[in-house]
């Protein structure tokens, strides 16, 4: 029983991490149809931003304040990744709208450069981020079943991001423009929406969320130049499985992959579990090529 609960929680936790990693992609890939292979590197940028924030707190603020660095690290990671996203969009991505496969290749090159940049600045070895004391330990629900606060925090963070995104996209003025541009670019342009600006903003927000993901990942995993490469393919799988262009789909996709991953890994082992999950995804896409939540359209291609 306790094991079952724990595994359920683990599944939920993995789902939340996958979702956080894939959320930014759901925007850049799902809405803008840009295949951003540098998404993983934006996550890495978020992680390093957290590392830097930690160092600043460590060096310049009294020790008692140190634990609160993480509160600041979340917006800082968002901001830095946001800026990187903005630069990337303005210098490169805007030449690639409507050429998804080319965007995939070009951003892969960008990812390579960013990784190497990180290696030059921070060195090849991993850096350590000390998690704040208030996230240590866990919630004891019964004997031998401890739910780590960090994982609960990440789940909460994902929910917060989702809610924020929902309000931004469906309730704000900016979000309305964004949807307008993504649905019918020409029409929106005719109505006086600056598509250039909206594109840049949308991409930057997607990147910023990747930054938040990076910040959260520092709690659980390694922080190094190749951090992004561990998550990028999984993130794409989540978006594709969920159905491109639908946030609900992305949530379902992440839940599906996370839960099955935990289940398979528990039944078999980590390697085989991973293989099984991927086989399931491939098989599922044969059955429903457009993913869990599909949009239908009348256009020829």
């Amino acid at each position: 029983m306790e094991l079952f609960l724990l595994q359920l929680f683990n599944g939920l936790s993995i789902s939340s991490i996958l979702l956080l990693v894939a959320l930014g992609l759901a925007i850049t890939f799902g809405l803008m149809k840009v295949i951003n292979m540098a998404h993983g590197e934006l996550i890495m940028i978020g992680a390093y931003s957290t590392y830097l924030t930690q160092n600043l707190f460590h060096d310049y603020l009294p020790k008692s304040m140190f634990d609160w660095y993480f509160v600041l690290a979340v917006p800082v990671s968002f901001a830095i990744a946001f800026v990187f996203g903005l630069i990337l969009e303005m210098s490169l991505i805007r030449f690639l709208y409507g050429r998804p496969l080319d965007s995939l290749l070009a951003t892969w090159g960008v990812g390579l450069v960013l990784q190497q940049l990180a290696r030059s600045i921070f060195g090849a070895p991993n850096v350590a981020v000390t998690s704040p004391a208030w996230l240590n330990g866990g919630l004891k629900i019964m004997d031998g079943t401890l739910l780590p606060y960090k994982r609960i925090f990440i789940i909460a963070l994902v929910i917060a991001c989702l809610v924020a995104m929902y309000f931004y996209i469906y309730r704000s003025h900016e979000g309305r423009r964004m949807r307008a541009v993504m649905q019918n670019r020409d029409m929106a342009a005719c109505l006086g929406v600056s598509t250039r600006r909206v594109d840049a903003m949308t991409f930057a927000i997607g990147s910023g969320i990747a930054g938040i993901a990076g910040c959260a990942l520092t709690l659980l995993g390694p922080i190094g130049p190749s951090l992004g490469t561990y998550y990028i393919v999984d993130a794409f799988m989540v978006v594709v499985l969920g159905g491109v262009g639908k946030l609900v789909g992305t949530v379902l996709g992440a839940m599906g992959i996370g839960m099955f991953n935990t289940l398979f890994e528990y039944w078999t082992n980590a390697s085989l579990g991973k293989v099984l999950v991927f086989v399931c995804i491939v098989a599922f896409l044969q059955w429903r090529p457009m993913g869990l939540v599909a949009m239908r359209s009348r256009s020829l291609d």
Binding site: A128, P148, G221, G224, S226, Y231
Partner: protein
């Protein structure tokens, strides 16, 4: 359409000429690619000129393995500088030729071939992963080169063209398992990354557990780069082991130890012993997470020998105060000195003569006295079990007292009979 083809053809021809010309140009023994000012490459201009001995340094400077291997390069370069400052070998200066293995095994093979047949180096110091060594081995054997390999590995190998200055299984894993059985408990959980070293090491451990009264309660491998250990930790919890014997590699260690701590398991609740976590890795994982966990090596920065004192001092002076030394770094450093001593003794850099001279050669390494075992070309090493302290250094809990004779095929252990190669 056709006209375009025509230009393409021309282009092909031009490009091919360039490639061939490039190849041809580099063909001459006195190579001409000295277009960089880097000291490492300037070496090529000298060729085998009087007063210089070229040696190759072949580690990954890019890619995933760069994390670990770059520090070994530093140590080897430092040893070369020190020897040169003291007058060189046979009165000649050692000139290193650096090549990048790029964390890619075929590249290691290619570069090894280049170092031996193009640069004509006297010896090569290089490799980290077993895979890179396995890739280079046929090249060294074919061209009769000499490779010094500085990392602990899974044993079951002994090539006439390789000197192994890292530990083999009976100098790290076997004694540490015995120690754990005696001091920490009988129930073992084996956790490793999914590649050759952990699988082979665990094969050995399983035989040893059977022979020495241990009990195996679980064995798991995770893909390289795996970052979520929550399920695995559940499995470990369910199996209730006394000891987790950890052969995880690189980034996985970070995720595993962080998440182990989150699950409320500290070093007090569960003993873990790692064979791939050294001082350098501690910095990337975080001391707060690792404190109290164990590791088995032959050398720690804190190892108390006079040679080590100067070694650590020089290393920090040269590369910065925040740098730490670790077992493979020391092994790389030792390798250079052992080769230099062998060359001095042989009076030549010829591979066969150096090999002959290296037999039973002794040297005061930072880890203590080491001796080359002529039969296996491994070195005698002292085994040390250490515990991670709050300052990121190890405290030695136990050592083997004297340097242990290398036994890569575990011929000295009856229980290992089934592991040994069949021929």
């Amino acid at each position: 359409m056709k006209k375009r083809m025509f230009y393409q053809c021309g282009l092909l021809l031009v490009a091919l000429t360039i490639v061939l010309a490039g190849c041809g140009g580099n063909n001459k023994p006195a190579s001409t690619n000295s277009e960089t000012d880097k000291p490492t490459n300037a070496a090529n201009t000298g060729g085998s000129a009087e007063g210089e001995i070229k040696v190759g340094i072949l580690h990954s400077q890019s890619g995933t393995m760069a994390i670990s291997e770059v520090s070994v390069i530093d140590a080897e370069m430092m040893a070369i500088d020190e020897i040169n400052a003291a007058g060189g070998v046979l009165g000649k200066k050692i000139v290193p030729v650096l090549e990048d293995g790029a964390s890619d095994w075929p590249t290691f093979a290619e570069k090894a071939r280049k170092l031996i047949s193009e640069d004509k180096v006297a010896t090569v110091f290089g490799g980290w992963t077993s895979a890179s060594r396995k890739a280079m081995k046929p090249v060294f054997e074919e061209l009769n080169g000499l490779l010094w390999y500085p990392v602990q590995y899974e044993g079951l190998e002994s090539s006439p063209n390789i000197f192994y200055t890292g530990a083999t299984t009976n100098q790290q894993i076997v004694p540490s398992v015995s120690w754990l059985l005696e001091n920490r408990g009988k129930k073992f959980y084996l956790l490793g990354s999914d590649y050759v070293f952990p699988r082979t090491a665990n094969l050995v451990i399983k035989e040893q557990l059977k022979a020495e009264g241990g009990e195996l309660v679980g064995e798991e491998y995770t893909p390289l780069g795996h970052t979520d250990y929550s399920t695995l930790i559940s499995k470990i919890k369910a199996a209730k082991p006394d000891v987790v014997y950890n052969t995880l590699n690189g980034d996985s260690n970070v995720a595993f130890f962080k998440q182990l701590k989150d699950a409320g398991i500290t070093a007090k609740d569960l003993t873990t012993l790692s064979v791939s976590v050294a001082e350098e890795e501690i910095r990337g994982i975080g001391v707060d997470v690792l404190e109290g966990h164990l590791a088995a090596w032959n050398y720690y920065q804190t190892t108390d020998t006079p040679a080590n004192k100067t070694f650590v001092e020089n290393y920090k002076k040269k590369y910065g105060d925040e740098r730490v030394t670790a077992d493979p770094i020391e092994a790389g450093y030792t390798a250079v000195y052992l080769w230099a001593a062998a060359v001095e003794k042989a009076g030549s850099t010829e591979v066969d003569k150096v090999k002959e001279a290296a037999k039973e050669l002794e040297w005061d390494a930072p880890e203590g006295k080491v001796k080359i075992d002529g039969a296996t070309q491994h070195i005698y090493k002292t085994v040390r079990i250490g515990e991670v302290q709050a300052n990121g250094q190890f405290k030695e809990l136990w050592n083997s007292g004297e340097a242990v004779k290398p036994d890569p095929y575990l011929k000295g252990y009856e229980w290992a009979a089934s592991i040994q190669p069949t021929e």
